[in-house]
């Protein structure tokens, strides 16, 4: 009896597998369509609250500030507990207060460069860019709320990073980064505004 139930389940499972996969794929496509529609030709700005939970530190490191995401860069301005202004673009990171270009080259700091390349798509939902670095698992939480689990593809990145989780409600609300040593970073994006940018 049990044997026939197992066989029936397996048959049903394999028959329905393509449909399940297709359904998942369709769902994913719907999400990407949804997110990109939200972000189409828009710039994003708002406030952030960042918490870094590092095992060797007694308290989480908390910082606040504002951010602005444009088509080719992300401006990240920390206002508490210190004042700092970083710009992430395709060449790397610019530390404005130092007025030195920290964009880096192949030989020594690919990680910094890679971070800069990853950082903007986390806000804009650039599917191609994200898929270049991560395997992506999408979960629908409610009608307009989604959760993305990004797992690094790159071996070097995998050594330091477990995953990046994004919670999206029209726009990104939460970015959660988990490192292999257990350290975590939580970035909450608040009062996010989208502004259409001229073509």
């Amino acid at each position: 009896m049990l044997r026939s139930k197992v066989i029936a389940f397996l048959v049903l499972f394999f028959v329905s597998l393509p449909f399940i996969t297709k359904a998942a794929s369709t769902k994913n496509e719907a999400f990407w369509q949804y997110w990109q529609n939200q972000m189409l030709a828009k710039s994003l700005s708002g406030k952030f609250l960042q918490e870094k939970h590092i095992a060797v530190l007694r308290k989480p490191l908390v910082s606040k500030g504002t951010f602005k995401v444009e088509s080719d860069k992300v401006d990240w301005m920390i206002t508490f507990p210190i004042t700092k202004h970083f710009t992430f673009d395709q060449n790397g990171i610019v530390d404005h207060l130092k007025s030195t270009n920290q964009a880096n080259v192949i030989s020594n700091d690919q990680a910094l460069k890679q971070f800069s390349a990853i950082f903007r798509p986390l806000f804009t939902g650039d599917k191609t860019q994200l898929q270049q670095f991560f395997s992506i698992n999408i979960r629908k939480l409610s009608e307009d709320k989604w959760e993305l689990d990004l797992r690094p593809k790159d071996e070097l990145l995998r050594k330091g990073l477990v995953n990046v989780e994004l919670v999206i409600n029209q726009v990104v609300n939460i970015i959660r980064i988990t490192e292999t040593n257990g350290d975590k970073t939580l970035i909450k994006l608040l009062d996010v505004q989208t502004v259409s940018t001229p073509n």
């Binding site: 960042q50 870094k52 590092i54 095992a55 060797v56 530190l57 007694r58 308290k59 490191l61 910082s63 990240w76 920390i78 507990p81 210190i82 700092k84 970083f86 992430f88 395709q90 060449n91 990171i93 030195t100 270009n101 920290q102 964009a103 880096n104 080259v105 192949i106 030989s107 020594n108 700091d109 690919q110 990680a111 910094l112 460069k113 890679q114 971070f115 800069s116 390349a117 950082f119 270049q132 670095f133 593809k153 790159d154 071996e155 070097l156 330091g160 990073l161 490192e179 040593n181 257990g182 350290d183 970073t185 970035i187």
Partner: protein, 805 residues
Amino acid sequence: MKLRFFSWLFILFIVCALFIVKLLQGNVIETNIMALLPKTEQQPDISQLSSKYISSHNSKVVFLLGHKDKAQAIQVAEAFAHKLRQSELWKNTVLRHDHSKQQAFYSFYYSYRYHRLTTRQQQALETRTLAEWEGAIQQQLLNPAHMISSSLLQSDPLFLLKEQLQQLTPATNNHFSIVDNLLIAEADGIYYVLMNSEVTFDVFNLRLQKQAVESVERWVDQLKSQYVSTEVVYSGVLFHAEAGARNAQSDISFISIISLIGIFILSSAIFRSLQPIGCCLLTISVGILVAFTLTSYLFDKVHWLTLVFGASLIGISVDYTFHFFTARQAEETNFSPMRVIKRITPAVGLGMFSSVIGYTPMMTAPFPGIVQIGFFSAVGLLSAFLTVILFLPYLCQQPSKNKGFLNLSFFISLHQYHLQCASKTLLWTMMILSLAGAAVLFTKLPVNDDIRLLQQLSSERQQHDQKLKSLTGQNLINQFYIVTAKTEEQLLQKQEKLLTELIPLIKQGVLSHVSSVAQWVPSKQQQIHNLKLLQQNMPPEQLDQLLSKLGYTKDAKQKALQIYQSKTQLTSFNSDSEASSLLTVRHWLSSPVSQYVSALWLGKYTQGYAAVMQLVDVKDITVVRDLASKDSGIYFISKADDITTVLSRYRHLIVKLAFIAYLFIFLFLGWRYGWLKALLIILPPLTAALTAIALVGTFLQPINLFNILAFILIMGVGIDYTVFLQEDKKHRLSTYIAILLSAGTTVLAFGLLSLSSTNAVQTFGFTVLIGISLAFIWAPCSLRKKISHSLTENDVNQQAKRHSL
């Protein structure tokens, strides 16, 4: 006649034997431009070190394999890398950058993070308060890009390594990221995969460079047909060298063919025989052979510049041969070669002698190159002259089979018209106006000896370089220092001192970056200083306080302090011991981390140790050059600028010597003909040469050494014309035809170089073309008396008599 012939032949046999012996010894041609400088200014050791570095750099090639589809771009890159690896012409092809290398890089320098403090870190240790340290570290902690882990906070609590590594590479506009171990960049919708490789041969080896470039082009074509819309960009000295050689070869074959056809037509039209051309080649070859052999024995090596200049100047000897053949052609029935020789010897001898006088002052110059050119040209012309008077009578004992000239009436008319023009002051007016015009143009004549202007870079190559620069931010290497010292330690210290002087210049924008071994491996003195600085200004107690302020847990703090103490303690080293914990050049060179920069270390040489400090994107060369002058062991190398300086010095000196030479020639001609006649002889070629230079310099390209070579050539040939006309008054028609033929062949041989796509060759060609044409047109101005018709009638009668026979 026979005795003279065999005596000269015997001498030439000896010269030939000596020439072969010299060739067998090898290495006869000097290609180093610095060898043109006086011995006191030459630095053979430094020149050798510089060549070693340049050749290591020259062999490198960068490829970008592009496709709209990233996967296809990777496939193309892999297929291309496979082809390179299969070829014996290529080595060290790097496509994938595996993680182990990246990790090894971090691990290597991580071990020396306390030994390799940056200037900013040293300053911070000297000046920062504990609160400032706390603020600085907090900034690092809050940077969203910094993947700060618990282990990093324990092992490098002051965040030293990151800044140390960032300082090693310039902030270039590099678009590449490592994806799947490949360096990939995206631009205008195309994905480019970067690949490095090196050639296994000297990039200036014409045969192998051609082979390598042709195979690359073939592979690219194959890949393009296999993967539609593939784009391949490649850059390196190899491709420029090959494009230059290909250009020169196509120029030479095109120009040579036209030139040879023209010369053959001209010779056939006048002599109806190719014998005169064969004899011209013989006299020039003998001239060059004797000049080359004697120069190589006297100076040990013959410089390529001597060969270029000398061989061109020996080319003047075509005048002597043509003079012999036109005289022979015009000879009456009882032809005697000796009579012809006797007739032409005064004119040809004077022409040769005046040229040799012209080269004599060059032999007293303080520059070995100029002495060589003077000696080479004088010996060559003398040998060519001897060949004409000793060989030709024996080789051409029979009268010409085709007596008389074809189109005689045309030559007579041209001759009469040309000489009458001179008498009618038309030519004089032209000449004086040209001289005045040239004088005006000379006041604003642009001069530029920059070697880079002399060659026309292929536009395709420039596009490739530009594309590569836009994606990688890499610049071509042009300038560097060679730093020398007695010991390795002194050398590193010297580099560190120079670096402290260069950093402010980088901030001022004088240059964009410097790369040296001392930045990777500090001197032992510096490493010890850094450790002391940490111990004094960040003792464990103070670090303990800092970590407490930052909120470290007790265990984490203890571990961090333990690591810090063990890594910064000063007891484990002895400054002279190789077994110390300090980073040494030997250790660095033996590690794969030095792979891409190890060429900067030149190592031991006769005077001690040497290393390169590579300068990138230098905008003010004078400032950078001045830094080197402060220390006798530091040499600033800028190959193109050094060559430019040598060429400029040579141009100045040759101009001065040329004027002294022509003063001597004037004195000699004055003694021979009287001052007024001497002036008349020298004025037409001088005006022609000056006009040519003024026109080319004003309207084509600024004046350089090659125009001065053209000047000497025009003067040499032009004076021959006026002297021949003076000396051979009885046979003026045949002399005139000889001059016409000489001008025609010189224009065809040198003037056609104006069709070349190489700037230096083109300007030389234009100068000769204009100068020789004008020297020929104005040559009759040297004849003071009005033309007597009886002379031309005499010529006509002679020719008519010959034709009747």
